[in-house]
Symmetry: C2
Subunit: 398 residues, 2 copies
């Protein structure tokens, strides 16, 4: 391995006494992000004021950071741009794809997709009128459901609950054979797995940055548009910063060349600054190493939990190649178990109705944490320590 994981770990702030297995939901604070934000606030916003848009390079941040994300997902420079939230980027990709297949009316997705992707698709189909349909099938039926009716497939590579991983190149080929376009949501892929949108042939890809890319709560999303489509795709949400010449203040919209047209409004500079600093870790880390180490960690976790906790049922695929970087177990009292774990410093998360979810993020987590988490989970389950009223009162959790 070329990646020095002790060195990458030293780049993060990790609280004392915590084993953090939820980097798949919110990555921890990179030390460089804290320092960068302080500089952006005091030296740029504070001292440069409005001139920061040019002098501090704020206006170029969405593209400059996009190019760094591009390297992690196999996209060429100039094909990724940052901004908004993942749901907004799903809407843009979907609306663009439908406009590129005007003779077709069906969006195909699956029941394992993150609900917001489905909600956005449902909302768009409704807005476009009765003829459009969002069709959802179980994940394992997707390949068979790709027929010549389908305008676009909208799939998330890694299932947010179980970690099940779609075969992205195979499904993309199948979509193209049927004349459909393929949109991939990489929320649980970017920074976790080797992704190659170019070889894989994705038409659009979208993702968030606050999970495996450690940009902080509410960090901006990204969108990739295949270069062959980028100059013809309609941006939808045609905001001024996607205009060919935003500062000409023309009354008519003309899309910018390429993926820049997917920009919408004024970019969130504070969040982008944190993200840019968070990406420094990738100058020292190789995604193939990260993936290999994540598999080691997750295999050790599964083996340990299955040995210690017979009432927890593995909800993730057993074959590590068929799952992402997280492992889930089912238990009817999953919520209370997770609360008991968190009270003991092991942070994973719960997904309704019964999923305990644990993420493995080698940039800052090693085998010692995995063994510690197995031991504490074992203690909680052996002693039914979760069976207390205070662990059963549900707060709103993410």
């Amino acid at each position: 391995m070329r990646t020095d994981f002790a060195a990458t770990r030293a780049m993060f702030h990790l609280p004392e006494g915590v084993i953090y297995l939820d980097g798949n939901s919110l990555g921890p604070l990179p030390k460089a992000a804290a320092a960068r934000l302080a500089r952006t606030v005091t030296e740029e916003w504070g001292e440069m004021l409005i001139t920061g848009w040019n002098r501090a390079g704020w206006m170029a941040l969405p593209s400059r950071v996009g190019d760094r994300i591009a390297r992690l997902i196999g996209a060429p420079p100039g094909s990724v741009v940052m901004g908004d939230t993942l749901s907004i980027k799903v809407h843009q990709a979907l609306a663009s794809a439908l406009a590129l297949r005007p003779d077709r009316r069906v969006i195909l997705s699956d029941t394992g997709n993150f609900p917001s992707d489905l909600y956005i698709a449902e909302g768009l189909a409704r807005m476009l009128g009765g003829a459009y349909e969002l069709r959802t099938v179980p994940p394992e039926k997707v390949a068979d459901a790709i027929t010549e009716e389908i305008a676009v497939t909208l799939l998330t590579e890694v299932d947010y609950r179980t970690g099940r991983r779609h075969d992205m190149p195979a499904l993309t080929r199948r979509a193209h054979q049927a004349g459909a376009l393929a949109i991939w949501d990489l929320a649980h892929s970017a920074g976790a797995l080797p992704v190659d949108v170019t070889k894989g042939g994705a038409d659009f890809a979208v993702g968030c940055t606050y999970k495996y890319l450690n940009s902080g709560p509410g960090g901006p999303a990204f969108i990739y548009v295949a270069p062959a489509l980028a100059d013809t795709a309609r941006p939808a949400l045609s905001g001024w910063l996607g205009h060919e010449a935003p500062f000409a203040f023309d009354l008519d919209y003309r899309p910018a060349p390429g993926v820049e047209r997917m920009r919408v409004g004024t970019p969130p500079i504070l969040q982008l600054a944190a993200l840019e600093a968070a990406l420094d870790v990738w100058d020292m880390a190789d995604i193939a190493d990260v993936r290999a180490r994540a598999i080691e960690l997750s295999e050790a976790f599964i083996a340990g939990v299955e040995a210690r906790c017979p009432t927890l049922a593995l909800a993730s695929p057993r074959d590590p190649e068929r799952r992402g970087s997280q492992v889930s177990f089912r238990h009817p009292e999953g919520y209370a178990i997770m609360q008991a774990l968190i009270a003991r410093g092991v942070i994973g998360d719960f997904r309704a109705p019964d999923i305990l979810r644990f993420g493995f993020t080698p940039l800052y987590i090693g085998l010692a944490e995995v063994e510690g988490a197995v031991k504490i989970l074992g203690d909680v389950m052996d002693g039914t320590l979760w069976d207390r009223p205070e662990y059963k009162t549900r707060a709103r959790v993410t």
Copy 2:
């Protein structure tokens, strides 16, 4: 006056040697925002990790901050929510309004509107199909153009270039008389003028926060929905955080009650934290006082510039009641003049093709700055100090 402007001014960081007359584009750094961001990063993100969504109250921030904005625009609690960018919020308001007037097909706006509002309307009309039309008329023709064809008026109260102010209550009444809905963009109003969306009868209002509300570059936007419509308006961009129960992860979308349905994706917590701290100044400031003082300052500026600089032509309405909190002058060499001013520490901005724009923000600007700016502008014009090649090379400015 009840507002102590020396006290409010002390709440901002203002760089040495700068006269900042561009708070209408990007407000300066509130000292509390810098401190709050540092806390949010190190104590919340750094220490609480994923549990910050509940423990630090992140999930409630868009509504909690929305309630504080509501007080500034005459909206009741629970009627404003934060998120995304202004362009996205324009899209949501417009799509919702059109769905509420399904028998009408025309969006009415004016040529003085901020281009992004027009671009978004144009994009939405195109997405909805050929029957929809964006109709733009000169600002002074808007009232007469509100006919029974119009589904919705989309107007910005204060013109971004000239500061011309629409009569919001009168145009809203006229829209309602014609059976249309009224959307108001308050980008140059919120925090600058007394606004009362309730008395004024606005159906939707949207705005940004990085201008007169000082949230920092790329701070989140707000959207207001009149309570009578909030439970029936379709959100458009139906993302998971606008769902009635986001953490149930249902496959079908059900909008949340009220304005919460206008939430889309994961909120930008770092930007929201800066904004929340920036709003503290309003605990000490009365918007009526701010408006009265801004008129004093702008009147002094106009008088001073007209006395010193006969080649600059006032582009703003002369009646202060008919303009917002900015004053604009035209000059064919406006770009170079503004560069020369900025080089001498007077920061305003330029808007193509020939507008020099100056904002008056009494929270941190007083008569001494106005007099200083007049003197420097006078020197620049008297000596044609702007007539140098280095001031004429256009960079991309905002």
